[in-house]
């Protein structure tokens, strides 16, 4: 395994090349809506101030964390309960598939209709959007627990609850982490959409405000900050997957 710094630098050369080509291609362009990276980097110092981080970024991260934690906790809980019973799976699958098919961005106006505009709406929209991928992943994996493990639990006279907590859920760790990982992107998307729709706070609102007032470099800075948050969250999950379910990700050959 390469050193951490080596991997980091190795991953960095290609993005740097892309940014360099972008700079070369647009250095003399006068299109105000698609500025070269140098102009955007000049603008970073003006946008990313302690005050901006304390208001926009903090508000976004707060809503994202709250919604994500609530949604994923509910997803794991309900997924585990539903997955351990054949009858519950059959009853809930059509409804879950239907709700899952509704695009997650469409859940924001629905929440606005129910709860009005505010922090609660944004948190609820994110948690509903996160709930389903996590629930489906947990449910499928819990339902497909290795029969031998369950028989072992039966031998040790585990009841339904103990076999769920001690065998089924731990055996599903890998799939649950995959579900949690996939849900991060959904959570980010819903966070940005919910902020763009009239909440007035957060990075998404900042992007729309900059765009509407023709501060195009500010808009690009906002987009880059959202991207950076996405990359950091992704790295956290890659790390967690290696840490908590190494057997699963080794066997899939993705490490």
């Amino acid at each position: 395994m390469k050193s951490f710094l080596g991997t980091f630098l190795w991953r960095l050369w290609f993005p740097c090349l892309i940014i360099f080509l972008w700079q070369v291609a647009l250095a003399h362009s006068h299109n105000p809506f698609f500025p070269p990276p140098s102009k955007i980097f000049d603008d970073v110092g003006f946008v990313v101030t302690p005050h901006w981080i304390g208001t926009s970024v903090k508000s976004s991260l707060y809503v994202l964390t709250a919604g994500y934690l609530i949604g994923s906790a509910m997803g794991i809980l309900f997924g585990a309960i539903i997955g351990s019973s054949r009858m519950l799976i059959d009853v809930t699958t059509p409804i879950a598939n239907f709700i899952r098919s509704i695009p997650s961005a469409a859940k924001v106006p629905v929440m606005m209709a129910i709860l009005g505009i505010g922090t609660a709406t944004r948190v609820c929209a994110i948690s509903v959007a996160v709930l389903f991928p996590v629930l489906m992943a947990t449910m499928r994996s819990v339902a497909a627990t290795d029969q031998h493990l369950l028989e072992l639990g039966h031998l040790m006279e585990y009841g339904r609850f103990r076999s769920l907590v001690l065998i089924r859920v731990p055996a599903a760790t890998g799939d649950i982490l995959t579900g949690l990982h996939a849900a991060v992107q959904v959570a980010l998307l819903v966070m940005v959409v919910s902020e763009m729709l009239g909440s007035g706070v957060g990075i998404g609102a900042f992007v729309v405000r900059s765009q509407n007032s023709f501060m195009i470099s500010d808009m690009w800075v906002g987009i880059f900050v959202i991207g950076v948050i996405g990359i950091l969250l992704n790295e956290i999950f890659v790390f967690a997957e290696r840490k908590f379910a190494p057997w699963y990700f080794h066997s899939k050959g993705v490490m």
């Binding site: 509704i102 961005a105 106006p109 209709a113 499928r140 729709l197």
Partner: protein, 94 residues
């Protein structure tokens, strides 16, 4: 075996099942994105119509658009699952 033949006859066929899954997932995501674009930027379509209904406090219509989106989303998913099952006969999709 020359490289081109190897790519066409070995590498590409062996990826079909995973590519099929990718196509199915990205079709759902494409639908989600066009709805999001409608809601945020007002591109004509289900998303903007739904948000218009929500903004004008017509909540019955908002929810009926949600149901329509569910039907369209499920159909997109079902169509791509069917295509996948047709081409990837050796793998049972969940």
């Amino acid at each position: 075996m020359p490289l081109v033949t190897k790519i066409l006859l070995v590498y590409l066929p062996s990826t079909i099942s995973i590519v099929g899954t990718g196509l199915r997932l990205s079709a759902s995501r494409a639908f989600g994105t066009i709805v999001a674009a409608g809601i945020v930027a007002g591109t004509p379509g289900l998303g903007s119509q739904m948000f218009l209904a929500e903004s004008s406090a017509n909540y019955v219509r908002t929810f009926s658009y949600v149901v329509v989106m569910g039907i369209v989303g499920t159909s997109v998913y079902a169509i791509f699952s069917a295509i996948e099952r047709k081409f990837v006969v050796w793998r049972v999709t969940v």
